[in-house]
Symmetry: D2
Subunit: 481 residues, 4 copies
């Protein structure tokens, strides 16, 4: 691990110059720009945790390629224990940042491409896995951050890639050269993209023969020529831009993953960085493996966030004198219950993991889909309960400028006080944190990240084995036809 | 009606100078300040609708005091038809503004204070009703906007008013003079306060004998000496402050009611403006009447908003090519179902309305509480469904500055397009509207406005008549003990 | 009203001899057979209520045909007040019987056929309405009970009537004669059929030209030649058959409507009893009118049942010493809340009723569908909460034979006692009532009666006016294309 | 394992003569009495599975006492793998019986008493563990079925054991003798009691010093002098009693566990069978260990049942021609989703298991409580969805006697047919199975078995570590007080 601390990670980002736009202007230094710096700090926590004795075992792993100690985020899962440690690692990081720390998306991409490269090689005699191992070794040794890039714009969603009016609505190979390929298109909602070192591109859906040029996977540095990123806006992003430390809610870390659009305008990819090129019959498997790994995460990192949110409303109830009220306690109980149900699903899909032909371990896909499906419901309910307990002032609280005002600051202090002995500032800070963790962007990400709710339902039905279940019922009834 | 148009209403606000702060600075003109102007425009719609032939019947009423045609928002309900027309009026205004138009809070305050003044007079020989009629006549003739002010800060919620360390945590009479009273305290979450003409203050909860000085109701102009308002911040308020017309979502109208704190620093209230002074045994009734009227509204105005939200996601699904997908249609069906359930509750509590001793009509209180309780659940679910249909880009969409940028605007246009023939701008506008209508402030207001969820549950149990229900069961079983 | 009391109704049933089977044997006298008598008693309550001074206003109406005072169950609604009175009548009857009293199905059939007969006459110059009025006058004067018969067997549900392998899967005209028609087929789930005097048959779904012979409506006495009924079995029906008065739960009245199959084996219908004959383009309207009226009822009668169930669990909690526990009270609150939400929907769809061209009033169809849709969810939840409060002994309680046993009766009495002073028998009776009201048949009926859940969703979407809603959103955004 | 087959198990029951009453009469032979035989057959499956090569690994374990191969149901968990195998074993048995096979309650009792006996010995120098091992060795070698007996009648639930008017409302020691103790009281809802060999009694709740005589655990044969059992009645039990094989739904196996009351009328327990005697400070631990193990099971056996139920409705939808309809498929998806969420919780609490001081493994108690809490909700919802898909005829279907009738059997056959080629009998059988699996008793047991919903909520809150969560929130905000 060349990059060994959060500080070194931040330094490393200052050495590269990806082309990033935000609110119409270019960001020169993501580590210092107020819109991106909080996200950089969250990702830096994935580096910092390695140095935390309590969590080092979760934060690191032993490379199956080299035997070296590496960041777990660059590891290929070798057994069930690896899968479970990942879950525990993500929950801890959620508890320490209160937000997305972004690095699991590349982690899951690595695991998905690795296992599929093995299978395309076996089927077609390609050499994807060797190339991929070379690249992965580089990532592990340098300890780089990788953004896994899957979601295409899709244009008219009633049509497949090959039938779009604009053929670039899915990333595609526009030219094949002896030394590599040239790609065009875009990837949306790219978590951690602006503060990653490398992009790992994967197809977004199962392709058919007509869409062969869309069956492409590769890795490329974020500052390669032809790449442009556009950083998305978030709820209340200007509070962050203006460094309103109290009103932003989470003072140090960003909201969700700092998602960006990545545009590829005829970007050249060297051959040794290409891990799929036309093997359309493996696109479905690749998408599904990535999705399953990623869906498993949501009962981990989000429960870390919920731990904070539960703590925040508990403390707020204490400040407001309502913690002993029966309905408050019941709602806190429900928040814990929902949170732990999600965590249970993540643990379960890991505990039931199985090896792929490559040896890399996969989570149980049914349970991973079930996990994410529950997240799309429970996170909203947990947020709703938090807001119920917190009270209406989450929607009407004056700004920190009013609190700091000479003319009216004392009025805020007086009329937003709670029980004796706790400063009004604490109540306001905790309220802003709750506001930030329950508002728009945070919940939308929970719903659509790692696939929209319907994507999970399709897989749940597909894996439900209705034939077997019908047979169980028939056997019980003595029906044998 | 002296003020007959939206324009005249706006003009009228320019003539008064309430002391209002926002983000640490004073607002000089609420009609032009970008933070408040959208809320002024929403309230102006309540004036403008009078001139709309289609809705004039809903928007006006005949004063039972004078027989004059008045704004319905200043009317005392005379029958069930009035109650139902109010519901229909609010839904129409919700459909036209997509937000809170604020004026029902004073409307409900008028109806609550009117009926209680009659009863305190009858019980104690006071002259509250005559004073109130004089004031109401003035409001009706001038067609003024009134903010009903109820919610006190409450400090330590485990203690009643008289036991607070700071006695000002509930508005109270600090001095009684022959010509009036002097009051101190604050009211929080005051919808429409900064663009109202008058404040109608009511107690926030049932008081006992020890809290006699807190049993006070009165009316006072917003710019009376000693009154200070602090305008609360909202989700994404800086988009509004910066006049980012596209990203703000709802380009013309504000988000919810533009709530403010109103502080009373020893404000003198002339005797003829005092409608309750120490009659603590009527505080419970007053609070409950106001609350019931107000809770009935939420199945009206919010369903107007939901109509827009349903329309927005339907259009977005059309743009994205997903409108014919079964699960999209099912989710839209569910949104309509929940919306109409709320509307049904509002209609029902009105249809079951009954006269109070004063002749003023009250909604059925059980059904009004049930209505609001459902709002605290269904609005979140409707929002969740909208976000499910809309997709993840609600959380990651670049800003309008990127769309307008020379360097990258074409990329946004290309990669956020939908089906052929509809400009990308439309898709973005509709996405921003959905973002605004489903984010933090909008939902928190739905939950806590007109009383937090638990406030309704207490009333539902209290009015559930368990004795009668037990008897029904026992009779069926022949148990007569 | 010739039949003026419950007793006279029962007498009247003894004079007719419909062909009824139950558990493989013929029932000779429905008023005395233990399987049917409880249902007869429930229906008798609709007659008895006329003599109850408190409810006479609800239970009777003035015939618009004759001006005579008639049972409301034979009335054609003339205004909104009629619609609301119907709702209140049904709730009272639910509270008095704790079950289905069956008579609203004919009531709704009368109202649906009446208004459609007017419209087919207007369109095609037929004389259905005059015939119908003659028949209705007879029903009103005699005060007969009518079973509205709609649901056909449907065979393979993926195919319309005309494509079924067995053409009899929907009731159809097999012969047209000058003096009448001959019909064949069956109607399933016929509530109150075995103790009605007359059957009013309607088509089950919208038909097209190919299904013209299925577009048929008529009335016929229950004992007409060729008619056979088969009485369905219910949860725990043998407790009723064996007259186990305590264990049956509801000792006097049946569970739901005592549903039966009615088979028509080439039954002749005289011309004057035919109210639709081939007007397939009106079948959709007829079905929809009946369905809407019927769906409106479910927030009325079922809330009457829920009143009893809430009373039962409240009493049981009292007996068990758990009534003051916070979670018990909260669950009771929730039961009331759900119950009143349903009631609100029934009131609302009635309050928003409108006249049809015939003058007969229709409920608001959107709100009626919303009402029933909620019933399909909330009745289960109310039952679940009741069972939660009641405790596990609902599933394990020994039989009344054990209680009555000399050898072990004292053990039951000792170990199933509750707080001091209340006999164990009371606890057991109330437990059995809860068991009966929350078990299988009761809930299935709530779900599928008046149309399965999906039937309501189809109508909710159809009536949702998405075009208008999209326009509201676009206007707000200034999108005019 | 002396008893090696289901047949031997049944034989073994014929050799003992416990005193059992049902419907007021004594049952002489539980293996032949129609009320109990189906439950005997379900329990026999736990013996039979040992001989099934596919599942032998799940069905057996290696005794840590003797190294012998034993039935897993008599095993003390030695590691996480044991805990997970238990879950998988229970799901398989659920899939094979469609009901409760009863044997896990003794299994969990064994594990709970074992670990607590170790701890009481360590604390007080008692010799409970040695005695317990002797008894357990006997159970393992003979392969006996044990009923774990915990739930006391409780009388007035607002009062603890020592304050009850009748001191016998909780099982208690009425006499201490040198050679043993004499106990009095009763245990309710005893799953599998009537067809077990031994009873393992445990206290029902945490006791204090005043309730020392209630702090008792022991084992005793079911036919010991002074023991009387009363078999509870269930939904539709007379169909079973009358051997109506089709209408009973599940033709071979019982509904839930065939619960019984066990009364102890001054029963003598030899000293070597006493495993707790007055160590009141360990009652809470014992109850909680048993409860946690037992709660873990519900996401296993119940998901086996749900597999059958999902299969049943899928097949029924196929028969009715509705399987391809979008909403049917969506509801089946939801059923699978809920089912797998429960399974995930069971797997998770096992995967996160930890050793107790005795070496016996415990499940993760938070996740076990979460598992059961979800069961109390999801089983009802799964049942509701099944009934939605199945249709209204579940509540109205004529009896099998009608189907078998010469006079009307052909009408049933004709009018209850579905798609071509599948006999009507199949449709009826599957409908009856769905009726049985979704009706009263089945769901009540899911709710209250292993502790009522509130019992889990209390533990979830207690284990939620709110202090830690508050600290996480404060650290994020830089609040250090």
């Amino acid at each position: 691990m060349k990059i060994q601390t959060g500080g070194q990670y931040i330094e490393s980002l200052r050495k590269i110059r990806p082309k990033i736009y935000y609110k119409g202007k270019r960001i020169e230094d993501v580590t210092r720009h107020p819109a991106t710096a909080p996200h950089v700090r969250a990702a830096a926590m994935t580096y910092a945790l390695v140095n935390d004795a309590e969590h080092r075992d979760l934060a690191t792993a032993t490379s199956h390629l080299t035997g070296h100690s590496i960041s777990r985020f660059t590891h290929v899962h070798q057994n069930v224990e690896d899968l479970i440690k990942k879950i525990k690692l993500l929950r801890v990081l959620g508890q320490k940042t209160g937000t997305c720390f972004q690095r699991c998306v590349g982690f899951d991409g690595i695991n998905a491409v690795y296992s599929v490269a093995f299978e395309t090689d076996r089927q077609y005699g390609t050499h994807h896995l060797d190339r991929f191992k070379d690249w992965l070794n580089y990532i592990q040794e340098e300890n780089l951050m990788v953004v896994g890039a899957m979601t295409d714009p899709k244009g008219d969603r009633s049509k497949p890639p090959a039938d779009q009016k604009d053929p670039d609505q899915y990333v595609r190979i526009v030219q094949r050269r002896p030394d590599g390929i040239v790609v065009r298109g875009a990837k949306l909602h790219m978590t951690g993209a602006v503060n990653s070192h490398e992009i790992l591109v994967m197809p977004t859906t199962a392709m058919d023969k007509r869409s062969q040029d869309y069956a492409v996977a590769f890795a490329i540095p974020v500052d390669a020529p032809g790449i442009t990123m556009i950083f998305g806006r978030q709820a209340n992003d200007s509070r962050k831009d203006n460094r309103e430390r109290m009103d932003v809610g989470n003072p140090s870390f960003g909201a969700v993953g700092g998602e960006a659009v990545i545009v590829f305008e005829d970007v050249f990819i060297p051959r040794e960085r290409v891990f799929m090129d036309g093997q359309f019959d493996f696109t479905g498997t690749l998408v599904y493996r990535f999705a399953a790994h990623h869906r498993a995460n949501y009962g981990a990192c989000k429960t870390g966030l919920m731990d904070i949110l539960i703590g925040a409303v508990t403390y707020l109830a204490q400040v407001q004198g309502t913690l002993k009220v029966a309905h408050t306690r019941d709602k806190i109980t429900e928040m814990i219950h929902l949170c732990e149900t999600l965590y249970g699903c993540s643990i379960a899909c890991s505990a039931e993991g199985q090896p792929t032909p490559s040896g890399a371990y996969m989570v149980n896909t049914m349970l991973a889909n079930v996990c994410k499906q529950n997240v799309t419901r429970f996170h909203f309910e947990v947020a709703r309960l938090a807001l119920d307990i917190a009270g209406g002032f989450i929607a009407t609280l004056p700004s920190q400028f009013d609190l700091e005002s000479k003319e009216i600051g004392h009025l805020i202090r007086k009329y937003f006080s709670g029980v004796e002995g706790i400063p009004t500032e604490h109540r306001i800070k905790i309220a802003r944190l709750i506001e930030a963790m329950t508002g728009g962007t945070a919940l939308v990400e929970s719903m659509h990240g790692a696939g929209s709710p319907q994507a999970q339902r399709i897989m749940i039905l597909r894996e439900g084995d209705l034939e077997k279940k019908m047979k169980l019922a028939k056997v019980l009834l003595g029906i044998y036809s």
